[in-house]
């Protein structure tokens, strides 16, 4: 067996170990590689920046703990930005399994920024129906969510003063890890009720959402941990996403090296029998 053949049959656990070490080391000893801001992330940031104080910002946290590493930093940054701009924040989720985590996120950031529930923000929680909830909110917000997450009636909440339905929302961002998510917010929300929409998603979903970005159906897209790191950079607040970027780069480099090496070993092992065949003849 040649060296190339032996390498191609290497125990896969060694590769797991290499990837693990490449991820762990930069987390323990960060280098601080520069982060370039992409136009799609800047699109979301600039739009929130352009909103006047008291504008209505709707954040739909459409994910569950399985996507926490990517979408948790995005939601923290967006909420910090909205609270810093003194926007009226309406938070909600279309994913039942993410309700508790969404409440934890908004409570944590609101406390940190000194914001009051019911006055500066409201967490509506979860309502069944997925896309139907969006349509329902477009017709009557109070019909879709008669009470907030804490059971308080939504009618009469100071933060919702003057808001009847989705047409009164100035900017909405859906942080989606699947369906319902960004696409549903466009199809059943923006396209029908005409409010501005931005998106945030996991890395897996990002390529599928780029057509919506290009056509102007969404005005910005925060894609994966990388997008979250860019938003943290724009906010000038170092968080978990920036901390993970060195590890991300190191791991990608390791994977690229492994792919190149595997291809080299594969082609050299394929050529060996031919050469042997030629010399035998």
């Amino acid at each position: 067996m040649t060296f190339a053949e032996r390498m191609l049959k290497i125990d896969r656990r060694i590769i797991f170990l290499v990837i693990g070490v490449c991820t762990l080391l930069p987390l323990l000893y960060p280098v601080g590689l520069p982060i370039k801001i992409s136009p799609e992330v800047r699109g979301v940031y600039d739009h929130i920046e352009s909103l006047p104080e008291g504008s209505v910002f709707l954040l739909s946290l459409d994910f569950d703990p399985a996507s926490k590493p990517e979408l948790h930093p995005q939601s923290i940054s967006l909420l910090r930005h909205a609270f810093r701009k003194n926007l009226r924040v309406i938070a909600m989720t279309l994913w039942v399994s993410g309700t508790g985590m969404a409440d934890q996120i908004i409570t944590q950031v609101a406390r940190e920024m000194g914001k009051e529930s019911g006055k500066d923000y409201v967490f509506l929680g979860w309502s069944p129906g997925g896309t139907v909830v969006i349509i329902n909110m477009g017709q009557d917000l109070y019909g879709a969510f008669p009470a907030d997450y804490n059971g308080k009636s939504t009618k009469g909440l100071p933060v919702l003063h003057g808001i009847a339905n989705l047409r009164d929302v100035n900017y909405a961002v859906s942080l989606g890890a699947g369906r319902p998510g960004v696409e549903e917010w466009y199809v059943f929300g923006k396209d029908k009720y005409k409010f501005e929409l931005g998106g945030g998603c996991t890395g897996v979903m990002a390529p599928g959402l780029y057509p919506l970005l290009r056509s102007g159906q969404i005005n910005g897209l925060i894609g994966g941990l990388r997008g979250a790191a860019e938003y943290e950079t724009l906010m000038d607040q170092k968080g978990r996403a920036i901390a993970g970027m060195d590890a991300q780069s190191a791991t990608h480099l390791a994977i690229i090296v492994l792919v190149i090496m595997c291809n080299l070993f594969y082609f050299s092992s394929r050529n060996t029998p031919r050469q042997q065949g030629h010399s035998g003849a």
Binding site: P69, V96, P128, E183, Y186, V187, T202, A247, Q248, H252
Partner: protein, 251 residues
């Protein structure tokens, strides 16, 4: 630090390490964590659904506010439960018919508008743009999503990929070139999607490792280190047991 935070740290660390132990090989620790994950998520979903749907959206409005009209959707929903009674199962078809009808009516026009018409509109943008004061312009910047060069690339990509999936004509001569171009565009799209998927999976690993580093802090009682030792010890004991079993079976 509150006791519940410390306990949470130990549980999170333990379950993370138990799940990671599958990378070595399948073992009871992994199965424990896997079953716990499924059980907890299903239990959480059932409780949240009961609390939101039954208590807040049905019981309270009907009993406290007298919104009796809610009994109509409740009755339609209840029809679905007849699936569990074989003789009355046919009644559930009315509920399904209602859901499928409403769902299709809502989704089809909106989906056609959003994903077909809007995307076609974006694909057939004019190549030349008329800028006031500058006349007709043709932009070459690949970095600008609305540049004329990008429009040409998208047009070629969409047309060639559509032709590749057009099987009524044999892909020979010029048709072969177009179909091959389509394959090239598809490969680039798959590559980009795979690259993003790798990035996403690595982000999940980074998230778990970040937590493990955080939980190795003395304020939590260093659960990462203790439980890592325990997991490794369990795997070693298991490996020894299985190696002892094998010679006996051979005898």
């Amino acid at each position: 630090m509150p006791v519940e935070t410390i306990i949470g740290g130990w549980v999170a660390t333990g379950l993370t390490l138990f799940i990671f132990s599958f990378l070595y090989k399948d073992n009871p620790l992994f199965k424990l964590a896997e079953n716990l994950y499924v059980g907890v998520s299903v239990g959480y979903t059932i409780i949240k659904t009961y609390d939101t749907v039954i208590k807040q959206l049905i019981w309270r409005p009907i009993v406290e506010n007298g919104e009796w009209s809610l009994l109509i959707p409740v009755a339609i929903g209840a029809l679905m439960l007849t699936r569990y009674v074989p003789k009355a199962a046919w009644i559930s078809r009315y509920a399904f018919a209602f859901i499928v009808g409403v769902g299709s009516g809502l989704a089809i026009p909106r989906t056609i508008s959003s994903f077909i018409l809007k995307q076609i509109e974006d694909t057939v943008r004019p190549l030349m743009t008329l800028v006031p004061g500058e006349g007709v312009t043709f932009t070459w910047s690949l970095l600008n999503p609305a540049s004329s060069l990008n429009i040409i690339i998208i047009l070629v990509g969409v047309s060639s990929v559509l032709f590749y999936f057009f099987f009524s004509v044999e892909h020979t001569g010029p048709g072969k070139v177009v179909a091959r171009t389509g394959i090239l565009f598809l490969m680039i799209a798959f590559g980009a999607a795979f690259g993003y998927t790798v990035m996403a999976r690595m982000s999940l690993l980074i998230g778990r490792l970040t937590d493990l580093i955080e939980f190795s802090d003395p304020s939590y009682g260093r659960p990462s280190l203790w439980l890592l030792g325990l997991t490794i010890l369990t795997l070693v004991v298991m490996a020894r047991r299985s190696s002892n079993k094998q010679p006996k079976e051979e005898e």
